[in-house]
Amino acid sequence: MTDATANTPAAPKEGKHAGSLFDADARTQKRNASEARFRALGLGAIGIGVAALIVLLVSILSQGLPAFQQTFITLDVYLDEAKLDKNGERDIEKIKKVSTFGYAPLIKNAMTSRNEELGIDMAALGVSDKEMSAMVSKEAAAQLRRFVIANPDRIGDTVEFEFLASGRIDGYYKGRVTLESAERDSNVSPGQLQYADALKEGGALSTHFNWGFLTMADASENRPEAAGIGVAMIGSLYMMLVVLFLALPIGVAASIYLEEFAPKNWFTDMIEVNISNLAAVPSIVFGILGLAIFINYAGLPQSAPIVGGLVLTLMTLPTIIISTRASLKSVPPSIRDAALGVGASKMQSVFHHVLPLAMPGILTGTIIGLAQALGETAPLMLIGMVAFVREFPSAPPEGFFDPASALPVQVYNWTTRADPAFVERASGAIIVLLCFLLCMNFLAIILRRRFERRW
């Protein structure tokens, strides 16, 4: 460099090869510009990918986080003996005969007394009695009834309850419903919203974390506030158990055979071709298989976690086999040779030495396969998992045959409903699903970091 700067070049010459090496000619400039453009395109592509990820996550999070919050109305309900237990016998069978309709007036009375307490003038707000009752979720009467049946001795007392507010009132505090939109909405009036504000000022209405979203079952079309993912989570858990207990042993056994014992012949080739093809078959085809074989032929019940588990097992097997074979392959041959050298049989060398050493890799692959299965939707829809399920499945093993939902299918189910509150629920359920996936992948990474050996 010093030479170059010291010897200042002579006056530039005319012609093709004129000029300093440091002054790029037009052609070089063009080539360099094209180089820069190419790099920018590459960087742009990465930018698009990363931006897509961020937009995706932000949109789901911003839509879904409100689902974990819920608006509640606190009321002191007088459990009227005259209505719930006319002859005062406290006979549980007779109390059960009172339907949820019998409980609705109690809630209404409680609201009226709360109004008097807070000095809210219903007539001034233009809220009719019917509209006032509609502020509280339709689930409230059922909640009250469950409480009375569980505690019949409390009849006659005044008990404080926290009821779910109806979906539109809840939407008002989440920005989904405004005073303007309420004018056009047949399900909610602006008066109701002002009434809700008055209740909030009086401390009878509050918005806080909603455990019910995680524990409750799905709810019908017109009560989105009461819908939860409890049944769906249990259904997904059951299916994952089935997948784990079937796919892991079968997958490991198949990989051991293919990697350690299989002779090179047409039969082995056929198995290998089949496995690599199955890994790329669209998931919905597995759903058709499940419908045709497990439900129509074998007569297993629809919407049951066992059928879902079996279908997902078949789907996950290729993933598990491929990763298990890779980790078996990474165990160096010297380990096998040493075992054989001290007199172990081939089977012993595999089961006593190779398999334990490959275990971290196998577990990592299994967890990733499970994560894939957990998010799978299409095949489950075909085997009847889209059905509306309110009952929690019983404990295993019978529970495997009870109808249940699954997390991703529940999400789909909610997106098909009219009330926009369900879209929020769907995004909330997606957040839960993504959290599970994140945990599983994290576990896989930890397993790999902690136990992976480099030979």
Partner: protein, 493 residues
């Protein structure tokens, strides 16, 4: 006996067999394990396997075969009159099964003794109401033939269950006895056990083949049924899709296939350039720091379930495409559109293209790049003129794999593309407008097979024909991709 108990009993016997076999072997060697052919545990495992494995295999086979055999026998004995009332044979059979369950529950809850349940007649005091009390699901009034069939069903199930218990029990005991008879200090227990384990391993690996056979058979069978009711030329070459559950549907596949291919094309138009450029930058230019951050971030996209993309299409991309592009241009008013589904699917496919291409680009030998640099080429010229041509077969393979994913993708199109089939009769404009809703093969498989469906109508069976078509197309693409990748990769190894 309930199946669970049979299984537990067999395992119990197997466990006894394990210890008995071990002790018997040690006994025959005078307590000196060194004089045995194999380690003592192998004698135990031998007894365990002989007891458990054949018994459980027979049990599984019995459970698979028996229900369908009982169904056929009962179904055949149902009088025609009962079937005419109930709609179809399978519906009546479902009713029979429910009635049988209700009878079982009635006995279990002590509402009836087994004597009455077996002799119940439908004209006797409101049977339907009594069975409903048990909490079982009874949808319609139980008629006499259905009740007879249900009773018959219970009798046959009882007989089947009894013989299953006997056969499985006998097999377990026979295996147990045989194993103990064979156990002797010179018996080559390890070799037998290892041969047995190997058989189990082989069986496990054939499940892959069985799955493929199951897929192909189940779809072939139902597709055959479909083509009996609907001409195959109409299906493959029909240009109108208009299913009608009252009958007289037009089930032409072409509009669906067009929708599938169009959406896949849009998706690939997004994913291939982005994925390829990302792969090139990551493998050729990026420093280790950027690579460590960007590569996993792009790969996260591959781990996100498709339902999440579907929701993303529904609540974010769909409205944006409609409000910002389609409506200002006057091209459509629907949030569901080819563009929405295609864009989102394209995002989903970016990591497929990029990580496969990344591997392939990295596999191009460094010497080729060095040669190009030595001749004075810039980095991008080297990539364009040397690396990419060398990696082309692999990249084509990656694109084909991505295409097969796009064609088989379901949730994104269910939630993003809409349910209306392309309307060929309305001219070219309606068909190629990417802002119109359009449906695909996978969407229609879902919609024809979910909900209340009668498995005899062509409107339902068409889903199997669509599924088979989809399977064949994706299989073809995969095989082609693998062939291309394998054939050209060998050049540099």
């Amino acid at each position: 006996m309930p199946v669970l108990w049979i299984v537990l009993a067999v395992f119990g016997l197997g466990l006894i067999g394990y210890f008995a076999g071990r002790m018997r072997a040690l006994g025959s060697a005078g307590g000196d394990a060194r004089r045995l052919h194999s380690l003592p545990n192998y004698y135990g495992w031998h007894a365990f396997m002989l007891t458990v494995v054949p018994a459980l295999l027979v049990l599984a086979a019995w459970l698979l075969v028996a229900p369908s055999m009982i169904d056929t026998r009962i179904g055949d004995s149902l009088p025609e009159s009962a079937i005419a009332e109930g709609g179809s044979r399978s519906l009546v059979m479902a009713e029979v099964r429910r009635a049988a369950v209700a009878l079982d529950m009635a006995i279990e809850q002590g509402r009836m003794d087994s004597e009455t349940a077996a002799n119940l007649r439908s004209d006797m005091a409101d049977v339907t109401a009594r069975l409903k009390e048990t909490g079982a699901i009874i949808t319609s009034t139980i008629t006499q033939p259905v009740l007879r069939a249900a009773q018959e069903f219970r009798v046959l199930s009882g007989i089947s269950n009894f013989w299953m218990t006997v056969v499985v029990g006998l097999l377990a005991i026979a295996g147990f006895a045989l194993a103990l008879l064979q156990t002797h200090k010179d018996f080559r227990a390890r070799n037998t056990v290892e041969a047995g384990i190997k058989t189990i391993l082989i069986l496990a690996s054939t499940i892959a083949i069985l799955t493929t056979v199951g897929i192909v058979l189940s779809m072939f069978f139902e597709t055959g049924n479909f083509f009996e009711k609907y001409a195959w030329t109409e299906f493959f070459f029909g240009t109108k899709w208009a299913p009608d559950f009252r009958g007289d549907s037009e089930l032409g596949m072409l509009p669906l296939l067009w929708g599938t291919l169009y959406i896949s094309f849009v998706a690939l138009a997004v994913a291939v350039p982005v994925g390829l450029f990302a792969a090139i930058y990551l493998s050729e230019y990026a420093g280790p720091k950027l690579r460590a951050v960007a590569k996993p971030m792009i790969e996260i996209l591959a781990g996100i379930p498709t339902i999440v993309y579907g929701l993303f299409a529904l609540i974010t991309v769909g409205p944006i495409v409609r409000d910002w592009i389609a409506q200002p241009l006057g091209l459509g008013n629907s949030t569901n559109s080819v563009m929405t589904a295609g864009l989102v699917m394209g995002i989903m496919l970016i990591p497929f293209v990029s990580s496969l291409s990344d591997d392939i680009i990295n596999a191009v030998p460094q010497a080729m790049r060095d040669g190009s640099f030595g001749l004075g080429a810039t980095h991008s010229e080297t990539i364009k003129q040397v690396v990419l041509p060398a990696a082309l077969p692999g990249i084509v393979g990656a694109v084909l794999l991505a295409a097969s994913r796009a064609i088989g993708e379901t949730m994104i199109v269910v939630m993003g593309a809409g349910a209306a089939a392309a309307q060929f009769q309305e001219g070219l404009g309606a068909v190629i407008n990417p802002f119109e809703a359009m449906t695909t093969v996978t969407v229609k498989i879902v919609s024809q097979l979910t909900g209340d469906t009668d498995f005899a109508s062509p409107e339902t069976l068409v889903a199997f024909a669509l599924g088979l078509t989809l399977f064949v197309i994706t299989l073809g693409l995969n095989v082609l991709a693998l062939y291309i990748v394998r054939k050209y990769r060998e050049q540099y190894e």
